[in-house]
Subunit: 172 residues, 6 copies
Amino acid sequence: MSKYKTALFIGRFQPFHYGHLFAIKYALEYSDFLYIGLGSSNRSHERRNPFTAAERILMIKSALEKENIDQKKWMIIPIPDVKAHYLWTKVVRMLVPKFEVVFSNDPLTLTLFSEESFPVIEVPLTERDKFIATEIRNRILEGQPWEHLVPEPVIKIIKEINGEERIKKLGK
Amino acid sequence: MSKYKTALFIGRFQPFHYGHLFAIKYALEYSDFLYIGLGSSNRSHERRNPFTAAERILMIKSALEKENIDQKKWMIIPIPDVKAHYLWTKVVRMLVPKFEVVFSNDPLTLTLFSEESFPVIEVPLTERDKFIATEIRNRILEGQPWEHLVPEPVIKIIKEINGEERIKKLGK
Amino acid sequence: MSKYKTALFIGRFQPFHYGHLFAIKYALEYSDFLYIGLGSSNRSHERRNPFTAAERILMIKSALEKENIDQKKWMIIPIPDVKAHYLWTKVVRMLVPKFEVVFSNDPLTLTLFSEESFPVIEVPLTERDKFIATEIRNRILEGQPWEHLVPEPVIKIIKEINGEERIKKLGK
Amino acid sequence: MSKYKTALFIGRFQPFHYGHLFAIKYALEYSDFLYIGLGSSNRSHERRNPFTAAERILMIKSALEKENIDQKKWMIIPIPDVKAHYLWTKVVRMLVPKFEVVFSNDPLTLTLFSEESFPVIEVPLTERDKFIATEIRNRILEGQPWEHLVPEPVIKIIKEINGEERIKKLGK
Amino acid sequence: MSKYKTALFIGRFQPFHYGHLFAIKYALEYSDFLYIGLGSSNRSHERRNPFTAAERILMIKSALEKENIDQKKWMIIPIPDVKAHYLWTKVVRMLVPKFEVVFSNDPLTLTLFSEESFPVIEVPLTERDKFIATEIRNRILEGQPWEHLVPEPVIKIIKEINGEERIKKLGK
Amino acid sequence: MSKYKTALFIGRFQPFHYGHLFAIKYALEYSDFLYIGLGSSNRSHERRNPFTAAERILMIKSALEKENIDQKKWMIIPIPDVKAHYLWTKVVRMLVPKFEVVFSNDPLTLTLFSEESFPVIEVPLTERDKFIATEIRNRILEGQPWEHLVPEPVIKIIKEINGEERIKKLGK
């Protein structure tokens, strides 16, 4: 049984991994339609944000298609950073059509929506899953295996764009 | 027969009207998948840009659903303005996954992609259709009928958000 | 009898004139404490915004002191423009402590707060008073008398900073 | 005996504490009127800048009123950050009416005004007082007592806005 | 006889024309070394600013070389626009090494430096020469001859980059 | 024998040192004309970027003149930072006339141009030379000798602007 008509899940997807996939499936259990807010959409080619929004959109799209998640039930919306954090919730509302609840694991997002008394749900991830994106980037940087942590289409995209090389170069 | 795997159609959709619908159908005839770039995504509540990106996304989504255009074949991507126009094509590439051709009727978009020798296609609109968004905004401002110029779901959205009142207030 | 504990009056004060003085007195009748939001605080040396925030703050301060309006009852807060108008109300809240109502004659301010169902009060100015700032700038530009339209301390400040010359030079 | 007609004291007030109160009293001994420049007015909800300008303005206002410091002698002016530090002194002058001296303990502010040969006075704080804001934020983060380091009205404001919770959440 | 060691000439050079050439020669009569500030360096592909900074730099460089003006005596420095005009002189100083006088025909530049009591010299152009850039852009737009108004290397550059076509397209 | 007609060398020059001089001479061996892109032109007065663009331009100009490097063969072009790194190459092209190859030691610059399949050449510096700017800033901060690491005119400029004091103050 769905609780919400429309929900929003916010992440940075640097890169998209199994934790994100779990979170999106989790959010879709509680909502008829899910907006997937792609945070820091203006950032790329830096340690914490190696991939462009275009690359990350492709990762999400490919992974969700691979999982046969109905395309009528979600939509990706890139959201740029805002220096003045207080404006962040308003930037989100400017770009994302009406949503009734926010799913996230980002402390800033959770704090800001909570302070406006807006319903937020922290996705019940294990500690490890919370920091998995950082671990993937570190593993790539150090030349360790990382492929088991992301859906197959994401591996393919990262290989095609020479993403490992990019992360290693920027990590110098 | 489809010519392109992926294409991009860029518009501002202030508001979404029958000219846009025609253009999207036209572009989909020539492409397997269409990215719909929503320009000036950071602008709203001004004469030329009365509606927020969130409102315009809903207009496009509702109108395309009403027309039963397969949701597997298109994706909306909001794109903010950039003051330095020369950077515009790069901003587009930062946000939109690989596309092979750009459909548009915006002179600036057509000029900038052409100068990079990138394939562009001007949608074959009548003169009237080119300026229909301006006409709709003017008609609303002056209290004349405008509803026949946009798909039905768009009328509904504009009414719900009191869009006519907004345009009249800002027009003072 | 005061209706509100705290209120906000927003204007651009280019320059501060008798219409503003009336509006502030009017707002103070309905509030115990008045925040005076100085809009477009980052603009100056252009036709519509000849004076800096610093200069306009001095105009307001001097004029209110001259009128013996109790300094415990008001505070000036400069507020910069924001390109994305939808963010404007949030920028205001970021800078101005809690207020219960907004007084203004700016259509954009009134529209944006109204759309959030926030109480707004349009100051009951005559048509002439609404456009008095534009008239003052035009009169200065054309070398006609303007001094009768602003409080005396404002005349003094404009003279001291050679404001007339500035407006004439920029008007070329 | 007052030395300066108008002075400027610049701080970030994250949060306002007894060191700031001392500095403001110190500056008022040497000036007839004191502009209180509230730096980083566009920042909040981050480790070094947890509080919005609106919240900090209220802290300063409440604390100075509690101390019965004459409201005719000071005015708060929020000043946003500027990425190009070299422009900082000019941003200050754009927003703050004429001042004859700058009081501060911020190395950047002192350096930039000194390089323009503008009079600056470093407030004679003890080493401890210089870093007291950082200590307060750390104490709140770690759940240690901090209330003795700030004036009473500031405690009240931080409690009302759930400031401790905010700092703890963002500190994760 | 040279009056100044170092001087600054500011223009937008949209495009570089004989009026600019005269002004630079004039300024070089009064200075040992001339910084040529290229204003609005971040703008291009718009009516008033069709050419990029890169294109304009090439125009100036080619034209001055053609005239055998000693390369040891001048240097081009691109300067971006700043929305807050009051900051403009400081932006200039951030980018241009020490100069003793400013040559310009731009009212804003002349006003802002004058207000700081900095020496400015208005280049003694005829009324026609002052508006020659606008005229050139209009002539290109309307397909009238314009080549006689700019130095030969500038004609060549505009032709090579299809500048006429760009201006016509953007003028639609 | 020259390989390229026009080349670009990008650095931050904080400050200009013997490594930069070597790199410029190296690049000039392979090119007829060298654009010297001065990165982070909008930054100064911070640890990693103590000097303004104006100061750095003077350092480069003085050092190259001292070495009698023909002024017809190089031109300095300041380039501001861009938050969205993906746009960086486009910002460079907006400001720098046509170049055929990029010389640099900055990992980000090398990565971004490489990803566009644009020719890049890493200047063959020793490890020490790569980090010499950081070392110079650290040495100044700690009061150790640094003068042997930069060309003589650079020493003079840093002394004249009290650069050592600035670095020490900001390092607090």
